[in-house]
Amino acid sequence: MTGAQASLWALVVAPAVVGAALLLGPRGRTERLAPVLGVGTAALAAVLAVVVALARPSVAVPFVAGADLGLGVDGLAAVVAPTVAVVAALVLLAGAADVGESRARFHGFMLVFVSAALLTVTATTLPALLLAWEVMGATSYALIGFAWRDDRRVGSGLTAFVTTRAADLGLYVAAAAALAGGAGLGLDALASAAPGWRDVLAAGVLVAALGKAAQLVLAFWLSRAMDGPSPVSALLHSAAMVAMGGYLLLRLSPLLQATSWAGPAAAWAGALTTVALGVVAVGQRDLKQLLAASTSAQLGYVVMAGGLGSVPAGTAHLVAHAATKAALFLAAGAWLAALGTKQLAGLRGTVGGWPVLRVAATVALLALAGAPPLSLWATKDLVLAAALQQSPALYAVGLLGAAAAAAYAGSVLRVLWAPVDTADRRRARAHRGEEETPRAVVPGALTAAVVVLAVGATTLGAVAVPAVAGALAGTVGGEVAHPSGLELAGSAALVLVVAAAVWRRPLPQPAWARSWLGLEAAAQAVLVRPTIAVAGVLDRVDGRITRGVGGIARGVVAVAGGAAATDDAVLGGAVTRAARGTGMLGRGAAGADDRWVHGSVLALARRVRRAGALARRPQTGQLHQYYVQAVALVAVGVVLLVVVR
C-alpha cells in the first residue's frame, strides 16, 4: 500500500474511529477532549483530503458477494472531498465554541457523519456508496434529534431518516438492476448495463438522489431537520448530506445520459425545485427555515447540471453553495444563541452588535442572491448556459428560480440592513429569548469560521472567467457551456432588480408557502396515517388467527374426548345397550321420532360437556404427562414408519 492509499483509508477511517471513541469512551474524559479531538480530526481529514486530491489513489477490499468496498479519488472527488472536509473542519471549529453540553456526543456523531460523507464522495462501488449513504442518514437522525429530551426534535430526526430511507430504497433496486443487467456493482460501469435494467438502475439512483437532495415533494424532511443544532445544519445542509444527493447525480451523470429520459427528468426536477422551494423560502419567517428551503432550491441547480450532463457546472455550484450556506447557517446559529431567536422579525435592528459577523453574512447573502461577481451568480449561470443549449423552457424555469433566490436573499438582507422604526424594535424585543436563553455573545471562533467561508463564497466567483471554468472542466471531466456576456449581464440585472424591489416592499408570505406547500401534512395524511391504520387492522387479523388456531385445537381435543367417551360407553355397556336398543327397535313407535331428535340433542349436549372436561384433562401442568403425550405422538410416527415400510 502506498502512502497515498494509506491516506485515503485514513481519510475515511480516522474520523469514524475517533468519533466512535468519543461516543463510547468514558464520559468525563471524552467531554473534556471532545472539542480538541473533534476539530483536530476534522483538520487532519482536511489535510488528507488535499493529499488524496493531489495523488488520486484508489483502494479496494472484497466486501459482499460480487462487489468490493472500493474507494477512489477521481477529478470530481478531488474537488468535492476537500470541500466537504474543509467545511466540516470549520463547522466543527464553530461548533466547539457553540455547543456547550454533550460535547462528546456532538463531536462524535459529527465525525462519524464526516467519515460517511467522505466515503460517499470517494465510493467507487454501489455497496460502498450505500454503506456511506445510509450511515449518513443514521447519524443525521442522531444529530437532528440531538436535544433528545424534546420529543419534537427526536421526531424530526425520525422524519428525516425515514423519508430519506424511503428514497434510499431506490439504491437497493439499483444494485439489483446492476447485478441483473450484467454491469456489476462498480459505479463507473453502471452506464453499460443492459437496456431495460439500465432504466431501472437510473430510476433507482434518481429517486435516491432526489430524496437526499430534498427535491420536489421530498423536500419536507429538510424543514424538520432544522430542529437540529445550527452547526449540524451548517454541515448537513451545505456541504454534505443534501449536497450528496446532487453529487450522486453528478457522479452518475453518464448513467442518466445513457437513458433517453433520466437526464431530462433530473433536469426538470431540479429546475422546478429551484422555483417551488424558492417560493417556499420567500414565505418563511424563520431564518433557518428560509435557509433550508433555499438549500433545496439551490441544490436544484446541481441536480439540473447532473441531468444535463454538465458536471463542471454542477460541481462549481455545489462547492460554491457549500461555502455560502455553511456561512449563513453558522451566522443564523450565532444570532440564535446570542439573541434567543431566529425569527426574521426578531433579528431586525438587533444584529448590529456584531459587525464582522453581519458583514460576512451579508457577503454570503449577496452570493446566495446571485449578485455579481460573487460565486453563485457565476456557477448558476454555468448551469443555465448548459440548460439553454438543450431547452429554452428549462432555461426560463431556472432563471425564475434565480429571481426567487434574489427575493429570499434580498428579504434577509433587508432584515440585516434596512432602517428600523420603533414598531420594528418593539417586535424584535418581543421575539428576544423566545426560543433559547440569549447568551448575548458570539464566540470569536464562530465569527472567524463564517468569515473564512464567506471569503470562499466570494472568490469561487472566479469560475465566471472562462479559463478558470475550462480548468475546472479539465479536472472533473466533461464539457462546460460558457454563458454569453448577455446571459451573465441579464441574470445579474434580474437579481438586482428583484432584490431592489424586495428591499422597497416586502413580498407577501402566504400560508401555503410558509407550510412548505403542506408537503409534510400530505405525507402524514397519505402515507403515515394509512400505514398505521393498516398495521392496526393487520394486528386485529393476527389476533383472530390466534383465536382461530386455538378454536381448531379445542375442536380437535373435543373430538378426541368424544371418541374416548364413546369408547368407554361401548366397552362398558355394549351388551346392555344392544339389548336395550333391540327392545327400543321392537317397540318402534312412530311418536318416538320427536323424542329421538330431542334426546339426541340432549345427548350431544352431554357429550360436549364431557368433552370439555376431557379437553382440560391433558393440560395438567404436569411435565411428565406432557412427555407421555409427546412420546405417544412420536410413537404414532414410528408406527406409521413401520407400517408403510
Binding site: A138, L158, V162, L169, A535, D539, G621
Partner: protein
Amino acid sequence: MLSLTIFFPLAAGLLLLVPGVGPTAARWWWVVASAVEVALVAGLWWVYETPAEGSLAFDEQVPWIPGVDSSYHVGLDGLSLPLVAMTAVVFLACAVYSLRDDDRPRTQAALFLALEAVCLGLFAAADLILFFVFFDLSIVGMYVIIAGWGHGDRARSALTFFLYTFLGSLALLAGFIGLYLAADPHTFDMLELARQDPFAGRGTAGVVVLGAILLGLAVKTPTVPFHTWLPPAHTDAPAVGSAVLAGVLLKLGTYGFVRLGMALLPDAWRSWAWVVLVVGIVSVLWGALVALAQRDLKRMIAYTSVNHMGYVVLAVGAAGMVAADTAQARGVAVTGAVTQMVSHGLVTAALFLLAGLFLDRAGTYEIAEFGGLAARAPRTTVLFAVAAFASLGLPGLSGFIAEFQIFTGSIAAVPASALALLGILVIAGVLLWTLQRIFTGETRGRSGGFTDMRAHELWAVAPLLALSLAIGLVPRPLLDVIEPAATTVVAVLGR
C-alpha cells in the same frame, strides 16, 4: 472433534445434575462450559476447509438404526458452520446474562447446556432421523424453559408453542418418510439422498413430500400464517429463553429450507418456489406492519423476527425461480439468506436480552410505561440503539450485509421481490419510533427507578453487537465460508 463439540455441553450439563453443586458454582460452570464450547467451535472454524461438493467437513458416521439405514452422521459445510458458531455465541451470551439469576440456577444451566447440544447437533446432522430427533428434543427443551422459568401465562404459552411446533414436526416426519420410501435403496442419509435425488422427474410425489416438509418448517420459522405461536411464547418466556428461541430455534426452520428443501428436493423446490416467494413477501410486510401496531416491547421484537425470517424465505423462494442467466444473482440471494440467519441470531438475541431488563427493573414490557430512559440508563440506551439500527439493516452492521445481498439477488432474479423493500422501510420506522418512545423525551413513567445495565448484562449483550459490527464491516471471513455452499445449492437447483 465435531462430536466432541456437539456433546461437550451435554456432558457439562449432566455433571451439573450431581447433587451438591451450589448455585454460584453452577452459574459459573455454565459460563465456563459455554466459553469452552465457543473455543471449540472457533477451533473448528480455524481448521475448516470448504468440503468438496457432496461431502461434509468433519464427517463422522456411526451405524445407529441399520434396519432403516439411519446412522449417527454429522458433518459441517458452509451452511451449517456459521449457524453452529452463532449458536455457541448466543448460548454463551445467555450464560453470562444469567450470572445473577437466582431461579434454580443448577437445573437451568443443565437444561440450557443440553439444549445447546441439541441445537448444535441439529445443525450438524446429516441424517434425517437424527435431524428429526434433535428437532423434537429442541421443542421439548424450549417447552420446559418457557413453562419452568417463564412468567405471566407461561403454561398456556408453552403448551401452544409445544403443540404447534410439535404438529409441525409431524408434518416434517411424514415428509422424511416420503423421502425414505422414494429412495432406492431406502435411506435416511442426507448426502445419499442428495446424490440420488429420488424425486427427480417424479413430479407430483416430490411436490407432496416437499409440501409436508415445507409445512413443518413454515411453522418452525415461523412464516405467516403459522406465526401466531411466536408472540405469546416470547412474551412469557424468560429473557434468555427468548434469546435462544429467536436467535437459534427459529433458524432450525430456515436452515431446513435450504438443507432439506433445496438440496434434497430440487425439482419440487422449483415447483414450490413461487409459493415460498409469496409467503416470504407476505411475512416481510405482515411482520413489519403488525410490529408497528404493538404496544408491548417483546411482542414488537417478536414480530420483527417474523419480518426478518421473511427475508430469508423470500431469498430461498427467489433462488428457486430458476432462469438461465440469473444463477449469480440467486447465489447472492442464498448467501444473503444464510448471512441473515447468523445476523438475526446475534441481533435478536441482543434485543431480547435487553428487553429482559425491562421486566426485571419495571415488571412490564409496556412501551407506554416508559419514556426518557436515556437520562437514567445511558448504557441500555446505547446498546438498544445499536441493536435497533442493526435490526433495521443499517450498513456497517451485519443486517445490511444480509439484506443487501438478499435484495440484490432476489430482485435481480425476480423483480417482484422489490415489494418486500417496503418492509425495511416500515421496520426502520417501527424500531426508531420505539426507541423514541422508550428512551427520549422527558423521563416519565417507570423510567424513574430504572437501574442501568450491570456488568454481566453488559458483557452478555455488547459482544453480540460487536460481532454484528464486525460482520458488517469485515464480512469476508463469514462470506468466504457461506458462498461456496450457496453456489452449490444454486447449482443443484439449476440442474
